[in-house]
């Protein structure tokens, strides 16, 4: 007969289970004697001599003895008969590498594939540039969101006639190259480039921008610093540079104002233009972001490789802790929450493997799994 369990009934039944397990007093006392006797044996031994090994003084039941002897016999028989008769599943279990080793192996495979993709792109560019007919008329780009997915190639050509005439030929070159690099499923699209001639004014502005960047670079390097990023706008006239300045805030402020004034003065002296100059340095989060970047890439690549539902990635250092966000195509539900938990666990393992490999300092972080509507499905904080 079926019982009617309410939530409180289940709670009561669970509590009752504790009392309903009846351990025979004799058994309990025998175990106590065994423990005390083993403790006394340990006391009489040298304290530091393999204390853990000494704890394995146990009774082994007859059933277990038979089981283990049976297993040993079967293995021996298996060895005699020959490996061909061993089931593939058993071989799989025997050769099963640990979870961590699987991730390390997968990371290596991803690096190998990325290397092949880069080499493939270089090879295709070279092949297209070598062809006299294509000279100056063809440009190729390769794109992929996840390296484990097939890449797509876009070839920009000068005009429609050229496209009609050479489309099959160009596609054939790319497909053959991809095959030789063992990259399957590539897509190739040919597009006609819109060639709009820039106006005289735009040409002049472009020239001025190039010159301002060159002047800025020369001045900053003269002072012994490196430009990490730069931007020039002509309306309003402004130069923004990110410079690698280490040291205290006070030192940074001093160097910043010196460079800003010097760059401004040199641009004015050479071009007779007054540009506002702003020098910045990398924030703490940006520096952290750089060291974590390969970890983020690994998490994004590896989770997608293992779980096809994972289709997007984001991170945020502010507010603390660091948030690693994995976007998925999952929809809410008990089953998907379990899957989200598995994705989270895998992502965490990838973070730890990659972080240790790169010796990146450990910081608290949270892995968040989002559903297809960008709502949080599961999260876990790791300190």
């Amino acid at each position: 007969m079926k019982k009617q369990y309410e939530d409180t009934d289940l709670d009561i039944s669970l509590k009752k289970l504790n009392a309903d397990l009846l351990w025979k007093t004799k058994q309990k006392q025998e175990l106590k004697k065994r423990i005390i006797s083993d403790i006394e044996k340990l006391e009489s031994q040298e304290r530091n001599k393999n204390p853990i090994l000494s704890t394995s003084i146990k009774k082994v039941s007859l059933i277990k003895k038979i089981t283990y002897s049976g297993i040993a016999l079967i293995i021996l028989l298996g060895l005699f008969i020959g490996s061909a008769f061993i089931s593939p599943a058993m071989a799989e279990v025997v050769s099963k590498v640990s979870f961590i080793n699987q991730i390390v192996q997968s990371l290596k495979e991803t690096d190998d594939r990325k290397g092949r993709l880069d080499a493939l792109y270089d090879e295709i560019s070279k092949k297209l540039n070598e062809n006299k007919e294509y000279e100056g008329k063809v440009e190729v780009g390769m794109s992929w969101l996840f390296s484990s997915e097939p890449p797509s190639f876009t070839v920009w050509v000068g005009d429609e006639d050229f496209k009609q005439e050479h489309e099959d030929e160009i596609k054939d070159i790319i497909f053959k190259c991809a095959k030789s690099y063992k990259i399957d499923g590539v897509e190739v699209v040919l597009e006609v480039r819109d060639s709009v001639e820039p106006s005289e004014k735009n040409k002049e502005l472009e020239k001025l921008t190039d010159e301002v960047i060159t002047i800025t670079q020369e001045v900053v390097e003269e002072k012994g610093y490196t430009i990490l990023a730069s931007g020039v706008s002509t309306n309003p006239k402004k130069v923004t540079v990110k410079v690698g300045i280490e040291g205290t805030e006070q030192h940074y402020k001093k160097v910043k104002s010196q460079i800003e004034k010097h760059v401004h003065d040199v641009i004015y002296a050479k071009k007779h233009e007054k540009f506002k100059v702003e020098v910045k340095r990398e924030s703490e989060d940006e520096i952290k972001g750089q060291s974590w970047q390969p970890i983020f890439t690994a998490v994004m690549e590896e989770t997608h490789k293992k779980f096809k539902e994972t289709n997007g990635f984001a991170y945020s250092f502010h507010p603390k802790p660091l948030e690693i966000i994995l976007k998925t195509s999952l929809s809410k539900g008990e089953e998907t929450e379990e899957q989200a938990e598995r994705i989270e666990e895998y992502a965490r393992q990838v973070v730890e493997v990659k972080r240790k490999e790169l010796s990146v300092e450990a910081i608290p972080y949270k892995v968040i799994i989002r559903d297809k509507d960008q709502k949080e499905l599961y999260e876990e904080l790791h300190n």
Partner: protein
């Protein structure tokens, strides 16, 4: 000093051994293994007695030792279980040697259903609902965050109910 330690372990054994044995039994589903792991728990508690800093109760500390030993055991057992299942056929792990331990009829369905749900669900239900540990202590024992304890328990209870329905012990209409 070691005499005092031994007496304290004996005292702890009298108070907590049954609770620890039943926790391990629910996890490993094998009485003999549960007894061996209970043995190891108290011997280990004796060996590492100095590291017990009393940040938690001795019960929580003993359970965390028992949990760690059980997890290690389950991890090592996985390949040998495969051999047993393939060559010796699957045995009914839920049956208990009645001369050593038995379970009252009223609770046997629940005991069986608990044995069928996944390990993480089982241990959080056992610690929170059967052993009555607080969320904080459960988190300490399992080395989880408190939020993980809450979220896992939140999923574990429906999984247990589902198992009870599957085995025909729980009426679906009541869910």
């Amino acid at each position: 000093m070691s005499e005092y330690r031994k007496l304290e372990i004996a005292d702890w054994y009298d108070q907590h051994s049954k609770s620890i044995l039943s926790f391990i039994l629910l996890m490993v589903k094998d009485y003999q293994q549960a007894e061996d792991l209970t043995h190891d728990t108290f011997v280990k508690a004796y060996l590492y007695h100095n590291s017990f800093k009393q940040h938690s109760s001795e019960r929580t500390w003993l359970f965390s030792i028992a949990h760690n030993l059980t997890v290690d055991f389950l991890r090592k057992r996985k390949p040998s279980r495969f051999f047993k299942e393939v060559f010796l056929f699957q045995k009914d792990n839920t049956s208990l040697p009645e001369e050593m331990i038995r379970i009252k009829e009223e609770s046997s369905e629940l005991y069986k259903a608990l044995g069928e749900i996944k390990d993480t669900y089982r241990k959080v239900i056992v610690l929170r609902k059967i052993k009555g540990f607080s969320i904080e202590d459960t988190a300490k024992i399992l080395s989880w965050t408190e939020s993980k304890v809450k979220s896992t328990l939140f999923r574990a209870i429906p999984a247990l109910k589902k198992q009870l329905i599957k085995e025909g012990y729980l009426d679906e209409k009541t869910i």
